[in-house]
C-alpha cells in the first residue's frame, strides 16, 4: 500500500467509526454490486440545440435554401463525411472522430414529438412515451433496480446544486454536488451530524427524511475523503462546463464508485440571433469534451467511459425572421469514448426532403439509445427500467 492509498483508506475508516449511523454503515463496505467498471456520462444540452447548425449537411441545397442567413457555409465548416461537417467551433472534436471515439447519431427522437422545452425534457429525462407522465427518471430507476435496493446516492452523481428528474428513482435518488469541498462544508454542520445520529420516533416518511440526511452526510464524507487524496486532474478550460467535466474526472480518478454522471450545459434556446450564442456554447462543449477525453486517455480509462450528449429537441429546419430558429423535433445525439460503436448507418445525414410540418422525422428512438447504454454498457436489464423492451441500437 503506498502512501496515497493509505491516506485514502484511513480517511474512509475514520468516517466509518464516528460519523455514519449504523444502518448506513451496514452498506458502507459492501460492494455496490456494479456489474463492471464502465462509466456513463450524460451531457444535457438544455434549451434545444440546433443540430443542423452543429453537424452541418454542407452539401444539401434544402439546408441552404431554408436558412438563407443562418446556414454555415461549406467553406467555413469542417467536413468529416461527404455529407456532413462539424460546426467550426467543434474543431477540437475532429481528431476524436478520426480515432473512432466520437460518433454522431442522426435524427434521434420519439413518436408524437412535443415542442415545449419542459415537456420534451421531461420525456427525455423520464424516458416516457409522449402521452405518458412518469414521476421518476431513467437513471433514478436504474438506481432503484441496482444494488438490491441498497444503492447509495453517490452511485449516480449530478454535477449541480439541484437534482434533475432523470436522477430521481422511487427508493433511491442520485446525488447532486457541484463541489465536493462545498458539500462537505455544508454537511460538516455539527447539528446536522448529531441529528442524523440521534434516536427519533420512527414513522412513515420521517424514516425517509432521516435516511436521506444520513446518506447525504455519508456520501459527502465519502466523496470528500476520496477526492482530497488524489491529484487534481489535468488542465480544463475555465468555464462552467470545463469545471463540471473536471469535477467528473476528479471523481473517476479517485475511484468514486459511481457508474453514472450527469452534467448540463446551456442555454441553447436560440430564437433570436442564434450564431454568437451557439458558437460560444459549442466551443465550450468541444473544449471541455476534448480535455475530458484526453484526460481519460491519459488515465487509461477512455475505453471505459461513454459520454452521451443529447438535447430535448432540435430546431426547425427553416430559420425564423430573427436570425434564430424555433423549436423542432428530432436531433443529432453524440456518443464519445467507450468501446461500443453504433453501426454507421445510424449516422447518415438527416433527410431534409421528407419533413413533418417543417421538422425532421425521427429515425432512432432515444430509448433505444438508453437501452443500449443500459444493456450493453452498464450491463443491467433495461426492460424494467424503461418499462418495456426496446431492441437497442445495432452495433458495429
Amino acid at each position: 500500500m503506498n502512501r496515497k492509498e493509505f491516506l485514502r483508506q484511513s480517511a474512509i475508516a475514520a468516517i466509518g467509526t464516528w460519523l455514519v449511523p449504523d444502518f448506513v454503515k451496514a452498506y458502507e463496505h459492501r460492494s455496490p454490486l456494479r456489474q463492471n467498471d464502465k462509466i456513463l456520462v450524460v451531457l444535457q444540452f438544455s434549451g434545444g440545440n440546433d443540430g443542423l447548425n452543429t453537424i452541418i449537411p454542407y452539401r444539401n441545397d434544402i439546408y441552404y435554401r431554408e436558412r438563407p442567413r443562418l446556414a454555415i457555409q461549406a467553406t467555413e465548416s469542417l467536413p468529416f463525411t461527404d455529407e456532413m461537417a462539424f460546426h467550426p467551433a467543434l474543431s477540437k472534436l475532429r481528431k476524436w472522430y478520426d480515432d473512432g471515439y466520437f460518433t454522431v447519431l442522426s435524427e434521434v427522437g420519439y413518436p408524437n414529438p412535443d415542442r415545449s422545452h419542459f415537456r420534451s425534457m421531461d420525456i427525455w429525462q423520464t424516458a416516457s412515451d409522449s402521452a405518458d407522465y412518469l414521476r421518476t427518471g431513467w437513471i433514478g430507476r436504474y438506481l432503484d433496480a441496482q444494488c438490491n435496493g441498497a444503492c447509495q446516492a453517490y452511485h449516480a452523481v449530478e454535477i449541480d446544486d439541484q437534482l434533475s428528474l432523470s436522477m430521481k428513482g422511487t427508493a433511491v435518488k442520485g446525488l447532486a454536488v457541484s463541489d465536493p469541498q462545498r458539500l462537505h462544508n455544508q454537511t460538516q454542520n455539527k447539528f446536522y451530524q448529531e441529528l442524523a445520529k440521534v434516536n427519533h420516533e420512527e414513522y412513515h416518511n420521517v424514516d425517509y427524511l432521516y435516511k436521506t440526511l444520513a446518506e447525504t452526510i455519508s456520501s459527502s464524507d465519502y466523496l470528500y475523503a476520496k477526492t482530497k487524496v488524489t491529484e487534481p486532474p489535468a488542465v480544463y478550460p475555465a468555464h462552467d462546463l470545463g469545471r463540471k467535466m473536471r469535477t467528473v474526472s476528479g471523481f473517476i480518478r479517485s475511484g468514486v464508485e459511481a457508474s453514472v454522471f450527469y452534467v448540463s450545459h446551456g442555454s441553447f434556446d436560440t430564437h433570436v440571433n442564434q450564431k454568437p450564442q451557439q458558437d460560444r456554447l459549442l466551443g465550450q462543449y468541444a473544449e471541455a469534451l476534448d480535455a475530458f477525453l484526453a484526460d481519460m486517455k491519459k488515465l487509461g480509462r477512455l475505453d471505459d467511459v461513454i459520454v452521451m450528449t443529447f438535447s430535448e429537441f432540435g430546431r426547425r429546419v427553416r430559420q425564423n425572421a430573427s436570425n434564430g430558429t424555433d423549436h423542432g423535433t428530432a436531433n443529432c445525439l453524440f456518443w464519445a469514448g467507450g468501446t461500443l460503436k453504433p453501426v454507421p448507418a445510424l449516422s447518415a445525414a438527416p433527410d431534409l426532403s421528407r419533413l413533418d410540418e417543417g421538422d425532421l422525422r425521427y429515425r432512432t428512438d432515444f430509448r433505444d439509445v438508453y437501452a443500449t447504454l443500459l444493456d450493453k454498457w452498464l450491463q443491467v436489464d433495461s426492460t424494467a427500467i424503461l418499462g418495456r423492451k426496446f431492441p437497442g441500437l445495432p452495433l458495429a
Binding site: 438544455s46 414521476r135 435518488k173 442520485g174 446525488l175 447539528f191 427524511l209 432521516y210 440526511l213 430535448e312
Partner: protein, 474 residues
Amino acid sequence: MNIHEAKHLFLRAGFGATPEELREAGRHSTRKVVRRLLEDADNALTLHSIDPQQVGYSRKNLLEMVMQRDSLTAEQRKQMVREVQQQDRDQIGDLNFAWLTQMGQGKSALREKMTLFWHGHFACRSNNPLFVQQQNNLLREHALGKFGDLLGAISKDPGMLQFLNNQQNRKQSPNENFAREVMELFTTGRGAYSEKDIKEAARAFTGWGFNPKGEFVFRKNQHDDGEKLFLGKRGNFNGEDILALLLERPETARFVVGKVYTYFVNDVPNPAVIADLAKDFHKKDYDIRWLMEEIFTSSWFYEPQNVGVRIKSPVEYLAGLQRTPGVSYGSKQSVLYVQKALDQVLFYPPNVAGWPGGTAWIDSSSLLLRMKLPEVILQSAELNFRAKSDGDVNTDYLSKRGARQFRDAQLDWSVFGKPFEGLSGEGLLDALTETLLQRPLSPAQRQLILRRPRKTELRDFTLALLTLPEFQLC
C-alpha cells in the same frame, strides 16, 4: 378537540396556525372548528394584481405595434416583444407572490389550500398573466363547490384550452390532447376508456376555443355535431354532454376522492375508506365542501398513522412559515427563487399531471436546502445554492443570482414569543415544539437541542426546531 388534533387539522386544511388559534380551537368540538373553517373559507378573496382591462390592452397594443410598424427595425421589434414577455413574466411572478401571501396570511386558509390542490389537479401553464389570474380565480371560486361545476368551468377556461391545444381542435382535423387529459387526469383516470373514446370525445370538443380577451368562444362552424359513440352510449354529443357522461361514471368519484385522500390524509391510500367516500361523494352530486367536512370530522383523520406523516410541498413550507412562526417575506424575488430551487414554482407545474409530491420532494440537496432555509430567512444568511437553469426562458429568469438572500424577510419575535412569556429552558422548548411540530421530540432530540449553546432561547430553540427533518412533515 384537543390542541394536537387542532394542529393537525389546521396544517392539513390550511397552512398551520398560531398558538392562539390552536388554543382557541382546543376549546371547541371538532365539528364546530371544522364548521368555522368552512365558514371562513366562504370568503373567496380573488387575486387581482392584474387589471384585465389594462393588461389585455397594453399587451395587445404593444404586440400590434410590433407587428404593424414597418418603420421599426427588426431589432427594435424584437426588443419590444422581449419587453412584453418580460413584463408578462414579472406579472406572473407578482401573482405568485400575491397568492403565496394569501395562503400564509389570508383568512380563508382552507379555500387557498383547496385552490392549491386543484392547481395541481388541473395543472396548467400559460405565458399570459391575464389567463393565469383568471384561471386561479376560477379554481378558487369553485374550490369548495360542486366538482361538476369546477370541471365545466375549467374546461372552458382560456388558459386550459390553450395549454391543451383545444384551440386547434377542429372538425376537419381534431386534436385529441384536451379530450385525453380530461379523462386521464381530470376525471376517470386511466383504464376507464378506450383510445376510441378519446377520439370520439375530441370530436365533441371541436370548436371550443377562446379569444384574446380571455373569453370562451364556441366556434360552431368548427364543431363536429355528428353522432358519436362514447363510453358505450350513442348520441350527437357536444362537450358538455361528454363531461356529464364522465361525471356519471363511478370511476370519476373514485379518482378524485383518491387524489383528495392522498393529498389531505395520507400518501398511502386506504382503498376501503376511499371507496366509501367516493360512493357518497357521487351521491352528493360531487359536493366538495361535503367531502372535506366529512374527512375533517371523521375519527380516522386524526388517527396517529395519519398525523405528521405528510411531506410539505415547497409552497406549503413557505406559506407555513408565514402562519407559524409568522414570517413576512417582504418581497417576491427570494420566495420565487426558493420555489425554483425546490422544484415547485406556482403556475409552472412540471407537466399536466401536476407535481409528483411525497418523497419526490426530498433528495440530498433539497433536504439540505430546506434545513438551511430557516437560517437564511430568519437571519439573512446567504443561500449557497445555485438553482438549475432548465433552458426554459419562462422559469430560468428565477435562477438569477441576486435573489439568494431574504433581505426583506421579517419576523416579529415579540409577537411570536408572547404566548410563551415566562417560560424558559425545557418548558419553553416543549411549548415551542408543541406549536411547531406534529409530534413530541424524543428524549435524545430534546437533550440535543438543550445542550446547544444559546443566546436567546426563543430564537435559538425556534431555529433548531425549524431545522429538524420533522419540520418537513405536517
